[in-house]
Structures are given as structure tokens and as C-alpha cells.
Symmetry: C2
Subunit: 126 residues, 2 copies
């Protein structure tokens, strides 16, 4: 098979930069399609198609009013993404601590000879 379908889930939907722009724009308040076109400068069919994708995964809601269709971001649909990323929070905090600890050790080495077992710093290639 080829690439996974963008319409399948929120992760794929937000992979597109323009869709993220649209989401941010529509988070403040609902807007008709024309406003998005004008404000973000995309072609109208392009906006419609992106909105379609966003709607399919529940990231935006739509309300009809006459010939206008008002879209707004459904922020709750972003929560799962936020929570997924949050599962890594403890790891980056740990990383930051490592960096800090390492820096402190280096500082102390300016004054004392190395008596501690050398900190295992993985020597990265690239």
C-alpha cells in the first residue's frame, strides 16, 4: 500500500500546515468559508477541501445559515493529540535534568579531578 489516508485520523489531518492555520483561525470564533479564503489567502476550493478533511475527523464543526456555512474549531478533538504528546512529558523533563546534571558535573570538574565514573554520554553520529 501507499501512504495512509489523511482523512483517517486527527494526526494525519493536522500534518498539513494549512489545516493547522485554519484550525487556529477558527478557534477564536466561527467563520464563513469566505472569511477563511480572504484571511488566509488560499483558493476557495482548497479551503473547502481542507474543511472537508477537518470535518471528517471532527476537528471542525459546521453550521448552515442561509447560503453561508459557518465553521469553527472543535477544540475537544485536539485533546487526544495533546494527551498523546503529554505522555512524553516525563521523558523530556528527564532529558532536561540530565543536561542540567551533566553541566553541573562538568562545572565541578573544573575544580576537582575526575573521581566519579565517567558519565556515559552516547557519542552521537550526526
Amino acid at each position: 500500500m501507499a501512504r495512509a489516508a489523511t482523512t483517517s485520523d486527527a494526526f494525519n489531518a493536522i500534518a498539513e500546515p494549512r489545516r493547522r492555520q485554519i484550525l487556529s483561525y477558527l478557534a477564536l470564533r466561527e467563520r464563513p468559508v469566505g472569511d477563511i479564503v480572504e484571511e488566509l489567502g488560499f483558493d476557495q476550493p482548497s479551503v473547502s477541501k481542507h474543511l472537508r478533511v477537518l470535518r471528517n475527523v471532527g476537528l471542525v464543526r459546521m453550521r448552515c445559515q442561509g447560503r453561508h456555512k459557518f465553521y469553527r474549531t472543535n477544540a475537544e478533538a485536539i485533546r487526544p493529540l495533546h494527551e498523546w504528546a503529554a505522555t512524553f512529558e516525563r521523558y523530556w523533563q528527564r532529558q532536561l535534568q540530565s543536561v542540567k546534571r551533566l553541566a553541573e558535573e562538568r562545572m565541578s570538574q573544573l575544580n576537582a579531578a575526575e573521581v566519579l565514573p565517567s558519565p556515559k554520554i552516547p557519542k552521537e553520529k550526526v
Copy 2:
């Protein structure tokens, strides 16, 4: 143009479910490629290619040791995603409040006649 390049940024990289699996697996501790292959059950070339993408966007780090290459998740690269999602936090909290408030109003209407201006509930289609 066609679809945006997956290798371009972290948002695209995590759009692929298998890459998210790999990230989670490598968050705990570094692992050689073979472990990923065995644990997640993907083909070896597939794992190598996903790791390549993840490395290009900085989501994983690699360390060579003999013929083994140890990969680990660089959790800090996930922070921007977390922060992007977090910018919507106030909105979903607001949404939740709206739901709550609405529920309370409905409850009170069981006892009192409607005296407040009707809450503007956009009547969604679909």
C-alpha cells in the same frame, strides 16, 4: 504540487501510526533496530525507513555500537507538538464550560420558566 513531504517536520512524521508506535517504544530506553522489528512486528527495512524519517526531523537519536545501532526517542522534539495542541486548551475548556452551563440551565428550567435570553446553540447539521 502533491502532498507535503513527511520528512519536512515533526507533524508529518507523527502522522504515521507505526512511527508513533516506534516513538513510544523508544521513549522508555534506547533499543537496537532488531528489538523494534521483533517487538512491533514490522519488516526490518520498514523499521529502518521509519527510523530514517524520525531521525531527519529529530524525533529520535542514534548511537552506534559495533554492528548495532541504538535508537532512542528525543522527547524534546515532541514538545513543540505538545505546545501547539496546548494553544487550544483554553478553547476546549471553554467548550466544556459551555456544556456544563447549558446543562445547568436546562436543569433550572425544570423548575422555572425561561426568563433569560435563549442560549444561542448553533443547530448543527450533521
